[in-house]
């Protein structure tokens, strides 16, 4: 398939706009908070507008590309918007708008300190996520990857107490270590193939470049960066600790940008560096799939034991992200579609859940599920949204989660690996059993202490975003191409990766 390429600086504008916003936010530290928040919102809308303006052309299979300068000798600082990247970019830029409104409501409702630094770091993170989505080669990707690592640190350590400091350290240890190994892997790819450009279906000549065992080790090193960011077991420790961060951070960064960036990196490496063909030959993706399957089941089991709502959601995130990795590593055309669309599906659902958790926390200061009995009567909208998203996570029809899971399962059958279908079914049941009790508690149990009477529904600026995402989860479940045509983008990307290769006699 030949792609039409347009040389355009627009991808860089999309990345740059929030970086600029971060500076402006820092500068308006002492100004009116409204001015500061105006920058965030302007950048959020501006970013989405730029991304949206590129969408129609990408739907037709076109690509915007721009090389700003050479980042190192022989490698350009290149952003290109292929279908796979646009999927992630479109998703995060849209959700950033909602999160911005929600953040403002949360931070003000909660009277947080250091809001300026918070919003600035947030904006930098969005730039980095956008850069990861659109990076045209491994080195550009790595640069944004590390920027994301550093910019997330202040958000994790936002509360500035002992626990937050500790989580920040833990986060850095995990991510910096994997980042260094990732770098070594990139150098290897560059030295042995002479390029780091992403190529759908894999970089040509990589298979002959080195012995199989070297390729396997390097695959591990490259993926480790993504795996740790995605919180795959046994590397999920930081993600759970990082839940001390304010809830909007958990919502966007731990459900959308940071962890998804990790899963996205795995996707890029599997689909665009190694390629399914080579991976099938060297069997490097198998163990990653096993690990993902293991994570999916184990994390659900752990989630059931958590009483803290955010922690429960964190373990759910760990499991759900492994769906993406699993779908990617099954290497079948259908499962790739499923993996990519699960990035969208999980983002919409999990952001709703985190929004709800934050809304409950700010309104009632309750964090534990056992304290939330009967809360549904006071906060009906919030808890309805929560229930919709929970059902979606479990894979209820007409909610977005089913579509991606269905495709992953279909892919597993394509490759004659029915064991993964079993894993998916078990996981669906488990997620029902850890999410439904929350809703059950909220709606059908009596409020024993009677202390919810004084609280009402959440603030409007928090309620509206969370209802929007819940509605979106249903709409996308019925019409997956609603709005940004994200499902077609996933299909286009999967087709370009597999290049007509069909496994298992399908």
């Amino acid at each position: 398939m030949t792609e039409t390429v347009i040389v355009s600086i627009r991808p860089f504008l999309a990345v740059g706009i929030s970086l600029l916003a971060a500076f402006l936010i820092m500068l308006s530290d002492k100004a009116n908070p409204n001015v500061r928040e105006a920058w965030t919102l302007l950048a959020a809308f501006g970013k989405f507008a730029i991304i949206a303006s590129m969408m129609p052309f990408v739907w037709q299979g076109g690509v915007y590309e721009y090389t700003l300068f050479n980042i190192v000798e022989g490698i350009g600082f290149t952003l290109r918007t292929d279908a796979c990247g646009m999927l992630f970019a479109g998703l995060s830029s849209f959700l950033w708008i909602l999160t911005s409104f929600y953040s403002i409501g949360y931070m003000r409702g909660h009277h947080e300190k250091n809001q300026t630094g918070y919003f600035a770091a947030f904006a930098v993170c969005m730039s980095a996520a956008m850069g990861i989505a659109m990076a045209g080669n491994l080195v550009t990707l790595f640069i944004f990857f590390e920027i994301l690592t550093v910019a997330t640190y202040p958000l994790v350590a936002h509360k500035r107490n002992e626990e937050a400091t500790f989580s920040g350290r833990k986060y850095l240890i995990y991510t910096l270590t994997s980042g260094q190994l990732f770098l070594a892997g990139i150098v290897f790819i560059y030295l042995f193939t002479g390029t780091t450009e992403f190529n759908a279906g894999g970089i040509a000549g990589l298979g002959e470049a080195a012995p199989v065992w070297v390729l396997q080790i390097m695959f591990f090193m490259l993926c480790l960066g993504g795996m740790i960011k995605a919180g795959m077991m046994p590397f999920h420790g930081w993600l759970v600790s990082a839940m001390v961060a304010p809830t909007p951070v958990s919502a966007l960064l731990h459900a959308v940008a940071v962890v998804k960036a990790g899963a996205f990196v795995v996707l890029r490496i599997v689909g665009y560096v190694y390629g399914p063909q080579l991976l099938l030959e060297i069997h490097a993706a198998d163990w990653l799939a096993y690990l993902a399957a293991f994570t999916i089941v184990t994390s659900s089991l752990i989630a059931m034991k958590q009483d803290n709502l955010k922690r429960r959601l964190a373990f759910s995130t760990v499991g759900q992200l492994s769906y993406v990795v699993l779908g990617t590593c099954i290497l079948a055309p259908y499962s790739l579609v499923g993996a990519m669309f699960h990035i969208v599906a999980h983002a919409v659902m999990k952001i709703t859940l985190f929004f709800c958790a934050g809304a409950i926390y700010v309104t009632t200061h309750k964090e534990n599920i056992s304290d939330m009995k009967g809360i549904g009567k006071q906060m009906p909208f919030t808890m309805t949204a929560f229930t919709i998203a929970s059902l979606g996570i479990a894979g209820m029809p007409f909610i977005v989660g089913l579509i991606s899971k269905f495709h992953i399962a279909a892919g597993a059958l394509q490759m004659d690996e029915p064991i993964y279908v079993v894993v998916l079914i078990i996981s669906a049941l488990l997620s029902l059993s850890y999410l439904m009790p929350v809703s059950f508690n909220a709606f059908f149990k009596e409020n024993e202490k009677g202390d919810f009477q004084k609280y009402g529904e959440a603030r409007k600026d928090m309620l509206i975003p969370l209802c929007t995402t819940a509605v979106l989860a249903i709409i996308l479940g019925i019409a997956p191409n609603f709005g940004l045509n994200l499902f077609d983008l996933a299909k286009t990307a999967a087709e370009s990766i597999t290049q007509g290769m069909i496994g298992g006699g399908w």
Binding site: V72, I143, Y153, L176, A184, V187, L191
Partner: protein
Amino acid sequence: MSENFPILIVLLPLSAALLSPLFSYLHRDLGRWLVTLAIACSLGCSIGCLQQTLASGEAIHYWMGNWAPPLGIEFVIDPLNATVATVANFVALMGAIYGAPFLKKSSWLETGGYYTLYGLLATGLSGMIITGDVFNLYVFLEIASLSGYGLIAMGGQRSVLASFRYLLIGTIGASFYLLGVGYLYAITGTLNMADMAVRIVPLIDTPSFKIVVGLFIVGFGIKMALFPLHGWQPDSYTYAHPAAAALIAGIMGKVPIYACIRYFYFIFAASGAAIGMGLQIMGIMACCGIILGSVMAIAQKDFRRMLAYSSVAQIGYLIVGMALGNVYGLIGAVLHLINHAFMKGSLFLFIGGVQYRYGEVNIDKFGQLYRKMPIACWMFVIAALSMVGLPPTAGFFSKWYLVLGSMEAGPVGYFYIAIIIISSLLNAIYFFRVIEKIFINPDAGLKEVNPQKGKLELPWQMLLPILIMGIGILVLGLSNATIVSDVLQFALPEVLIK
């Protein structure tokens, strides 16, 4: 005029340094201005030379007193040393501007004397970089060392002991170098570098030559504080005059490395078993230094001492790049030389600023410092991230080339990669620890020693260099491809290019 640039690089700061006490006697600020101006001109000349040599594609030869080499002494400027000289003079200029507030209350003699030493240090370093004569290099080495001892001794009470210790060890190092030069002269009969490069070829396997290599490794190793010859360095960097620390830590340790590259790759053309063995030994020493230096840095409470140990580690990076013996490795080494001069200079400027305003160097007392000194702290963050090697700061890109070179070198290289990765992570530990203190820890209630009135957090003479060096790290990082393709590519020795 422009044909005299090479000598002016050395002559201007030398004359200014010698006139500084007299001018300071006339007016207390005059000597300072004179030396600063001279270093600025010297920087201009270095840039001029760099342009000339890049434009013509040939080295510039300057015959002293028009005596033709090999009899006369000549300065030879090629893209490699023009680049190093430019960086050295740039950092020296920043340090010269930066020094003013520290000497505000001192007598004319102290100000004049300080700037004499500072000018001489700049002279010595520039001279070592651009000379084309092995004995001349020794002369400049001693000029730089002696003025360095003086500047370290000016730092305060404990600095005298540190300086004396460095004096003893440094003199031994210089003597080793001188002995090596003696051997070289005995076997080749010449002191001119270009001439020696021709004459050494048949002698490359003689025992005398092996001794020379050994003497040079020890001599330069002491001067650059290569592990385990670094004993003098932590104290010296810690107690050096805060205004001169940037130049001492940023450049003085690097010039011997440049000299090593000049000797091993240009004069000796990296041929013969002795050089190979020597480079390997240095590589191993460097690896030990990288790990040990980083671990020691983690153990320090005094910010300056932490930086000093970090220098032991960073010197190792340069040596690793040099020991790899391939194009990427050497590019990495030279690029890291430039980058590290900026990073370490920047960090010492930062701590100098804190020391000036609050008289505090203990990192445990840095709580909420960023509210009091926002610009300096943000520049510190840039430098720290660069030390860890996170993109898009300069440190990442030199690491990129070093890892690339290591990967190319095969199995030995994998070992180096492991060392570099571990070291980056250790760096991250001790720098993020400081970042944590500055941004997260509660206010430590520092008392101002030199209260700052007005909007600026430090006097402008200090703030400006901090800002320039900090932003310079980003600029260097983003323009590294240009630096490599337009400058460093032409600075590589011939042995590697073929």
